[in-house]
């Protein structure tokens, strides 16, 4: 991985662009750089959106204009030039390759380590897929099963057309347009994303994943996800994938809103492995995400994340525990290597009675990276018997990296029970020695120890993710020994 530098990527993109015609006139349309009200209107028009949606975007834009970029996070990066970005580009045709032989060998090596099947490798690397394994047909079967249950799962741009009442009712209710700088920007210019609605009492029979949603052309720069679980329903949603994703967009500002109505449960798992920049910290994706869910009575929202990519991560999946007896969970592994910086954590806002939340955060820093946990546990005055348990453990590898914890704990109710624990440690020499004695080489031993350290979180991932995520940890920390 580390051999692959940004220049290589640049070179690769350049040559391929030339070779295969990256910008085909019919396929791709890109607006001129810059952002103003006209651009927002044009995006909305392009998407053929109803008036209320256009107004909503304009309102968000006006709010955004007045906001300042936040700088409180424990990360340093050159501020993006918001007028230097093109805010609309239709799904681009990626260069099609004829066989796996044409794919960058480093990328293949990573796929192999992750244990991704050959066919899937082709799909991920954008190689023309054989007709034998037709992912389209897989997706169609999926759609049929979901359709029978009444589950709506489609790009949000389609949902705005087909189910405007549902989208209008819920969009922006958890993350208002004025929530923060990046959320406002996203609200104004989001190009696409996913919409998911689970009807009353329905248990979604499969893990929903953007990965299988075939009509979506890669992740957008400003993605918008809205998941609504109606009363008594259940859904497990997977976002991202373990395969390294090389996106040419530097700034990513996504918004995810989860709404769990009475007795509903949403399990949201993310694996993020975006381009982290090269070993010298050049390039890489800025990932500024706003994720938040709201729980009504007896509802439960569980966030699980494995963050290994991106040069700068700024992400706080949160739960508003509004209803009585609602439950919020946050399980996170954040790995930073080389010059990566991550400032991530969660917010648990206890408003209802008997609400419970659990936070397990594992930070692993290696190389010259900085890894911060920033979390808030808030217990409102009326949240009787609120219960929180937080545990933030950091593992440091080498003495050039840093691990930081910034937990905020606010309790306004005497019956609240809050526990917060944090530890920082390194991989013990005796642990390594023990493994070495038994014929396990140091690199493998570290992988073993890291896996053990992260086990509590890995266990929470859906099966297919867990296996890959485990390997991903190994790969991310490769070469960080000694």
């Amino acid at each position: 991985m580390s051999k692959y530098t940004e220049e290589d990527l640049e070179q690769e993109l350049k040559t391929k662009e030339y070779e295969y015609g990256f910008y085909t006139d019919i396929e791709s349309e890109t607006f001129a750089k810059g952002l103003n009200e006209d651009v927002v209107r044009a995006i909305s028009k392009k998407k053929n959106e109803p008036q209320w949606m256009t107004d909503w975007r304009i309102e968000a834009f006006r709010v955004w204009e007045k906001m300042e970029e936040p700088d409180w996070a424990n990360v340093k990066y050159p501020k993006p030039d918001f007028q230097g970005i093109a805010y609309y580009s239709a799904p681009k045709q990626k260069p099609k390759l004829n066989s796996l032989d044409e794919v960058d060998p480093d990328l293949l090596e990573t796929f192999k380590k992750l244990g991704i099947s050959l066919e899937e490798q082709k799909r991920l690397a954008n190689v023309a897929v054989d007709i034998v394994i037709d992912s389209v047909s897989v997706a169609t079967t999926f759609k049929k099963t979901l359709g029978e249950k009444g589950i709506i799962f489609m790009p949000i741009s389609e949902a705005i057309q087909e189910h405007p009442e549902l989208v209008r009712k819920h969009l922006g209710t958890v993350v208002p347009t004025s929530d923060n700088f990046y959320a406002a920007l996203n609200s104004a210019v989001f190009s696409d994303g996913s919409f998911c609605y689970i009807p009353k009492g329905v248990k979604c029979p499969m893990e929903l994943s953007t990965y299988f949603r075939i009509n979506e052309g890669g992740t957008g720069q400003f993605e918008r996800t809205l998941v609504v679980a109606d009363k008594g329903s259940y859904v497990s949603y997977l976002e991202g994938c373990t395969a390294p994703s090389r996106d040419e967009n530097q700034l990513h500002a996504a918004v995810v809103e989860l709404i769990a109505l009475d007795d509903a449960e949403i399990k949201y798992s993310t694996v993020q492995n975006w381009y982290p920049g090269d070993a010298d910290g050049k390039g890489g994706v800025f990932n500024f995400v706003t994720k938040r869910g709201i729980c009504e009575t007896n509802a439960k929202i569980s966030w699980t994340q494995v963050e290994t990519g991106s040069a700068v991560t700024w992400k706080y999946p949160s739960c508003i525990l509004k209803g009585n007896n609602s439950v919020g969970e946050f399980y996170s592994i954040a790995v930073t290597n080389h010059h990566q910086q991550a400032d991530t954590g969660t917010k648990m806002i206890h408003l209802g009675k008997n609400t419970k939340s659990t936070i397990i955060s594992k930070g692993i820093s290696a190389g010259k990276s900085q890894n911060s946990y920033r979390g808030l546990v808030h217990v409102g005055a009326r949240a009787e018997n609120a219960r929180n348990f937080s545990q933030c453990d950091s593992l440091l590898m080498g003495n050039a990296c840093g691990a930081h914890t910034f937990p905020y704990i606010e309790a306004k109710n005497k019956s609240a029970q809050i526990e917060h624990e944090a530890t920082t440690s390194k991989i013990g020499e005796d642990q390594l020695f023990y493994c070495n004695q038994r014929g396990i080489d140091t690199e493998k031993a570290i992988a073993l120890i890291v896996n053990g350290f992260s086990k509590e979180v890995l266990n929470k991932l859906p099966m297919e993710f867990a296996v890959e995520a485990q390997k991903l940890l190994e790969i991310s920390l490769e070469g960080s020994v000694g």
Binding site: A381, A403, P407, K412, A416
Partner: protein, 442 residues
């Protein structure tokens, strides 16, 4: 609100000229004052917009029309204030009334050590080298510390030479009498403890008036190699008195410094306690008990900066909050890259007794070294109902039972108090706070 705040700031700025008439403006110290003054002029009073003041607002205090220099000398009878002293043991005493030294109530010394006044240390040539070496060397350049530095004139000056073990504790007490006006005082203390020396200090701020009082105190403590400093802060002021207590401590190799802060009263109390470890095998101990009620507000802001390897720090803060009181704990531990084998421990436990009480905690760790043991724990909870029931079953009334549980809760802090008389005094204070009579010594 902002307008009101401007007024006090303007008043302070305007009175600086008057202050300059009273002090030697040709001394080197005055350059430090002037620089700090300009700094304060630029920064103004802290607002809630600052991360460090997120949970504590001084607005309600700052709107008082404070008199900055009490213009008359006030005398008080010892009998009236005896109860504020630890009077059952012999101690050195440095006592101030409205910011002015009271020779009548004090008991200072120059016998083999200096326990005297900042004003004389600043003006007399024989102290010049110490002042030059230590004064304002570790105090932060933030707003309130700068304000104090700008008006530096009086306070306690303690210098303990090499190998001297001070035979009895030193008490530093600041009384405010402002009977007609709201009073603001800014004591400035300097404590230098040389190699192998040992000292115990008890500090107290006490208001004797019903008018508003604002104390903005700065203490710098330097602990040389192998030195031991034992510092106790007793804060049990009246409801109209607010305190911003800034303490900066620099430690050298093998030194042990412990600071115990007992906050039982006052209006708004803000403790900024900063430890800088410049040497190896240092031990820093920060402990505190907070028991407050009414609308009282206590904010503990601690910083332990681990700069060199093989050092330790231990923090243990307990809080019990009743009525509408608010507590804040912001503990920050920084471990630098070079500070390998650091062992930093932080514990903060809180009990909310009333529905209207609030606690905001922010235990922070910033770690840049890999071979360290750092942990922090923070809890918010209630007294164990089962334990209470058990005691009631056995004939211990609920009130006493509760008090017993709270004692047990706070005991880990009391345990390490080394002066028995101070421990007893704290015991009594806790008993009074909890409204019970405790018939045993802890």
């Amino acid at each position: 609100m902002t307008k009101v705040k401007m007024e006090l700031k303007e008043k302070i700025v305007a009175s600086y000229v008057a202050f300059e008439n009273d002090v030697d403006i040709n001394s080197e110290i005055h350059d430090i004052r002037t620089e700090a003054f300009q700094n304060f002029e630029k920064l103004g009073f802290p607002t809630k917009k600052l991360e460090a003041w997120k949970y504590t607002s001084l607005n309600s205090v700052l709107k008082n029309d404070f008199s900055i220099f009490p213009n008359k000398e006030n005398a008080i009878e010892f009998a009236d204030v005896k109860k504020y002293f630890i009077h059952d043991i012999d101690t050195y005493k440095v006592v101030f009334i409205d910011g002015k030294y009271s020779s009548f109530l004090s008991d200072t010394t120059h016998d083999g050590k200096d326990v005297c006044l900042m004003s004389s240390a600043l003006s007399k040539p024989k102290y010049k080298s110490v002042i030059k070496k230590y004064f304002n060397k570790i105090a932060k350049q933030d707003n309130l510390t700068s304000l104090n530095t700008a008006f530096t004139n009086e306070g306690a000056y303690i210098y303990i030479p090499k190998n001297v073990e001070v035979e009895k504790p030193i008490q530093i007490i600041n009384f405010t009498t402002g009977n007609d006006v709201a009073t603001m005082i800014q004591p400035r203390n300097l404590v230098v403890v040389e190699e192998n020396a040992h000292v115990q200090i008890i500090e107290r701020h006490q208001s004797l008036t019903d008018n508003a009082v604002l104390t903005n105190s700065v203490t710098e403590i330097f602990s040389a190699k192998n030195a031991t400093v034992d510092y106790y802060k007793i804060q049990n002021d009246k409801d109209n008195a607010s305190l911003v207590d800034n303490t900066f401590i620099e430690q050298k190799t093998n030194s042990v410094v412990s600071v115990h802060t007992f906050s039982f009263g006052g209006n708004i109390t803000r403790n900024n306690l900063n430890f800088y470890q410049r040497g190896e095998h240092i031990d820093s101990i920060l402990k505190g008990i907070t028991i407050i009620e009414g609308k009282q507000h206590v904010d503990h802001h601690t910083l332990v900066h681990h700069i060199e390897p093989n050092c330790e720090s231990h923090q243990d803060y307990k809080g019990i909050f009743d009525a509408r009181s608010t507590g804040v704990f912001n503990g920050k531990v920084i471990v630098e890259k070079e500070a390998q084998k650091t062992n930093a421990y932080q514990q903060n436990n809180n009990v909310l007794v009333s529905d209207k009480a609030t606690i905001n905690a922010k235990p922070q760790l910033e770690i840049f070294a890999d071979d360290v043991k750092c942990s922090h724990g923070c809890t918010i909870g209630q007294l164990d109902e089962d334990a209470l029931f058990y005691m009631q079953q056995r004939g211990i009334p609920k009130k006493e039972g509760k008090a017993l549980l709270m004692y047990a809760f706070a005991n880990t802090v009391l345990e390490s108090v080394k002066i028995p008389e101070v421990k007893q005094r704290i015991n009594k204070l806790i008993a009074t706070k909890l409204g019970v009579h405790i018939g045993f010594d802890l």
